[in-house]
Amino acid sequence: MKKSKIPSLYLGLMLALMYVPILLVIIYSFNESRISSVWGGWSLRWYRDLFRDRDIMDAMTNSLILATVSSLSAAVIGTLAAVGMPRANLKGKGIIEYLSTLPIMIPEIILGMVFLVYFALIRLPFGMVTLAVAHTSFCTPYVYMLVKARLVGIDKSYAEAAKDLGATEWNVFWDITLPLILPAITSGVLLAFAMSLDDVVISVFVTGVNTNTLPLKIYTQLKTGVTPKINALCTLMFAATMLIVLMSAWFAKKSVRKTERRISSEEASGIRNSVGLAR
């Protein structure tokens, strides 16, 4: 029986639909010509221009600081939540657990509005601090969900064996639990980092007059017309994001592999996908 060509055609079409625009931006970032639609030969001119642009470099610094601070804060908060929640003896624990993943589900524009109103209400000056708080809040669920999934797969007899051998709760956390969930934390942090790095919508609402992040900078430059410099910037950001996402996936895979067979790999990759696709 001859294999039908339709599935491969369909796949090719879908891939083209998704990746051709990105590919075009990447190619045109190396375009010598000033006008985007005209090809003037290969050049690194726009990359040179890009690194000489103080505004853009400042925005990049801001973005990196912001992504680092918010993803690390999310790591601490998310991990503590995931480790502590099963021990908590609370009424309505299910609701709290559900609520804690809500920032992933709520449309960003609404989240942005909410932060704007809230920060104005408590008179927090808009700038890096408001950005960091907002970013931490939408980054935390990623870490929480990944760590929670990993914890489910850890046999509780490890903790019991450690206690049996003389460990306190504190020893158990540092010697047993933390090393076993570390790949999940790392994966969550990298994902959160990528999310923070490319966030526009929430940042628009909570940033200050003089604070710019890289995505915000790109967005505002669009209004004054796209220069090939923006193509170069987009290419760099795309590369950075890809790298981070791939690393995150690699750590998540490592985490899943270490997980006992009790949690099936489909389930784990399902969690991973839902985390990856939600935004």
Binding site: S157, Y158, A161, K163, D164, L165, G166, K258
Partner: protein, 361 residues
């Protein structure tokens, strides 16, 4: 009394509505190898976890070397456990796994290295220090788990079906090794299994458990040869149980009258009144099948139903007139009997043990 290392007194435990332990009493002597034997769900693992401190009993006390440890955390008890799935820390190598308890105690590095080396020698795994648990076979993991549990020199070592995951051959080998290890270390072992053969092979004493209670505690010989209840007779000796009415014949013998014929048993000092309903346990290998009438009319009338020949043991299943089945097993030789043959089931007086006397009386 000073050689009693562990004592359980009236332990009770429920999980939700399910009553798991029903008043457990147990005294374990120092250096003893005691086995808790019972089917899954009988509460043996819960008993072990209470001794380890991983569960708290609803009522009753646990005494370790004379001290009440009922409310002590597991890390404060001089007891270590070999878990059913071994629970080796997957992110630590063999050496770190074994050294873990010593590191917690802040023992100096040299002593730790020496102790770990000795422990590995003891379980015959020298040279495996740097292996990770997932690079070990089941039997090797099991040895590491034992090494990890004994470096701490516990007063009592608890073993929760440690051989359950191993294949049959390795299991037999490990039974012998464990027993030798226990002799050499002089540590008290409390061992859990549902395998009666394992229990009989290894233990100094066996505690047969049923529904959260001890049915009988005794040496393997006592439990095997002299089961107190039909449950013990069936679980430990896979014995045949025959019910009937007893009549004293003198000389400590009774005659058992049943619907299928006559049997015998020794009273072994028990007071049996004529006409009392009793149950007699007869082990499979004690059962004789004869085709001719016996001189004193002894024997239960039965029909051969099936014959199995497996691994040098011949099993013949016969059925009585009401459909109840008895099993007879023989070493080696085949028998001329074939399904459908009429036979008489007999046994020697010494091999008929009257069970369930307490329950009946």
């Amino acid at each position: 009394m000073s050689d009693i290392i562990l004592e359980l007194s009236q332990i009770e435990k429920s999980f939700g509505d399910v009553r798991v332990l029903n008043g457990i009493d147990l005294s374990v002597r120092k250096g003893e190898f005691i086995t808790l034997l019972g089917p899954s769900g009988c509460g043996k693992t819960t008993t072990l976890r209470i001794i380890a401190g991983l569960e708290t009993p609803d009522s009753g006390r646990v005494f370790l070397a004379g001290k009440d440890v009922t409310d002590l955390e597991p890390n404060k008890r001089n007891v270590n456990t070999v878990f059913q799935n071994y629970a080796l820390f997957p992110h630590m190598n063999v050496e770190s796994n074994i050294a873990y308890s010593l590191k917690l105690k802040k023992v100096d590095k040299q002593t730790i290295a020496k102790t770990v080396k000795e422990a590995l020698e003891l379980v015959q795994l020298s040279g495996y220090e740097k292996r990770m648990p997932d690079e070990l076979s089941g039997g090797q993991r099991q040895r590491v788990a034992i090494a990890r549990a004994i470096v701490n020199q516990p007063a009592v070592l608890l073993l929760d079906e440690p051989l359950g995951a191993l294949d049959l051959q390795l299991r037999h080998q490990m039974q012998i090794e464990l027993k030798r290890l226990q002799k050499r270390l002089g540590v008290t072992f409390i061992y859990i299994t549902h395998d009666q053969e394992e229990a009989l092979n290894m233990s100094d004493r066996i505690a047969v458990m049923r529904d959260g209670k001890f049915e009988q505690i005794g040496t393997p010989a006592q439990v095997y040869d002299n089961p107190r209840t039909s449950y013990v007779a069936r679980f430990v000796g896979s014995a045949n149980l025959i019910s009937g009415t007893a009549y004293n014949m003198g000389d400590g013998l009774i005659r058992l009258e049943t619907d299928y014929g006559l049997g015998v048993a020794r009273t072994r000092g028990a007071q049996i009144s004529d006409g009392q309903a009793i149950t007699v346990a007869v082990r499979r290998e004690s059962v004789n099948l004869v085709t001719q009438e016996t001189p004193d009319n002894l024997g239960l009338r039965a029909v051969v139903k099936e014959k199995h020949y497996a691994g040098g043991v011949l099993q013949i299943i016969v059925s009585l007139s009401d459909g109840r089945e008895l099993v007879c097993s023989r070493q080696g030789i085949d028998s001329p009997l074939k399904p459908g043959d009429h036979v008489l089931v007999t046994w020697l007086p010494d091999q008929g043990v009257i069970v369930d006397l307490e329950a009946a009386g």
